[in-house]
Symmetry: C2
Subunit: 241 residues, 2 copies
Amino acid sequence: MRFDLDRASPVPLYHQLASAIERAIQDGQLAPGSSLENEIALAQRLGISRPTARQALKSLVDRGLLVRRRGVGTQVSPAQIHRPVGLTSLYDDLEGSGQLPTTRMLDWERRQASVEEAEELELAAGVDIVAIKRLRLAGDEPIAVLTNLLPEMLAPSREDLERTGLYECLRERGYQPSVAKQRIGARTATAAEARMLEESPRSALLTADRVAYDDAGHVVEVGHHIYRASRYVFETTLFSR
Amino acid sequence: MRFDLDRASPVPLYHQLASAIERAIQDGQLAPGSSLENEIALAQRLGISRPTARQALKSLVDRGLLVRRRGVGTQVSPAQIHRPVGLTSLYDDLEGSGQLPTTRMLDWERRQASVEEAEELELAAGVDIVAIKRLRLAGDEPIAVLTNLLPEMLAPSREDLERTGLYECLRERGYQPSVAKQRIGARTATAAEARMLEESPRSALLTADRVAYDDAGHVVEVGHHIYRASRYVFETTLFSR
DNA sequence: TTTGAAAGAATGTCCTGACAAACTGTTGCA
DNA sequence: TGCAACAGTTTGTCAGGACATTCTTTCAAA
């Protein structure tokens, strides 16, 4: 098993090795259940130190791609466990459903925050916010209504948002959400919602309410999303500790 | 800031240090946003090597309790981010709702698996399984119906299950689920379900369907859980990568 | 007073080395 | 033949050391 490491690259060696192993797993060169050579031999063969090899292997263990047991060795995880790290990603919560969504802008409005909204965004009452409402479609079929609130000064313009995604816009503007707290729930649809989502009245909706924070703990964005339960589930991998 | 490390303890030093720092954060001795001493000084003061100290700090960074920046140092994460690693835990998916649940056994049945059930459990058709149905209550109020299917040979007895939780029983029997794939969805309740959960007919249910695997990739347990949407949400913390 | 460079501070990456713990396979003894 | 002990194998923990990168502060020059 060849892993090419480029010592002139700015990418750390452990990172290069982890990527190469991951690629080999995904290409099928490393089959689920198969054993890798031991870390001492691997390090020696690649001309790197053992802790460097360990760091690469550990990062893959943490992501569920490898399993390691003392006295036994390092193995590729069984096939069922081969997901990119088990979380619904902060950026791509639709991809778990295997659908390629498009997004249509329904509304973009600058206005004063209500008391509740200001509280959610951890802003003073009455400040200006931008409220964005979009429809998510898979093909021509609506699957979700996404409402997002942002402090005015962070908010992308309507034009920017029609060009690319909300988080991409935020990133371009130098605002990097790093953590989000999300609540997933369910309720029945209002008549307006049912119409918008092409469901029958009082059908079940899956809801996701989210507050995203930057590194300093400031609220970057609040999202209230509703999904057709008939068309959408959240998929998650859980690891025991 | 004192951290007592017991070198005679079988618990690894890095683990002891991580726990001590975590405790200090939770006790309020280390306030959100405050800086820890640098890793070199910390290691020196505690009489441990720098990589050992790093390992403790890294494990806390990975869990969102600390933030580290090159040139700046190590700080306690802002208060909003102080959750144990962001996933709904494999074992305690009710704890995020801040409720202390009790569990009532509704049914425990050994029978032959249907075709669909055998497929879910990755067993040959017609083999014996155990189907368990329980009601989860918060106080006297029902909040969830939990159905679990297990290969017969792994399944705890009815008596064991009334004494302790399913995962605890599995652990005692030497079966250790390590990964689970979960799908969270929503639908409206059937009349029987609504009655069981003391909700009105056709009210919204939050659903969780889960397959849990052991380290070797064998299915340990399949769960089909329904929750009253009026009483229950899944709370999750999402980290950007 | 402002701007740019240098110095100081701290984490990140990588190295060599050694011992402990856990697992598997082999051998010896009852 | 079966069981226990031992040997071999591999990962896990820990140590000491060095250099690179990134960030902040200070100092000097314009």
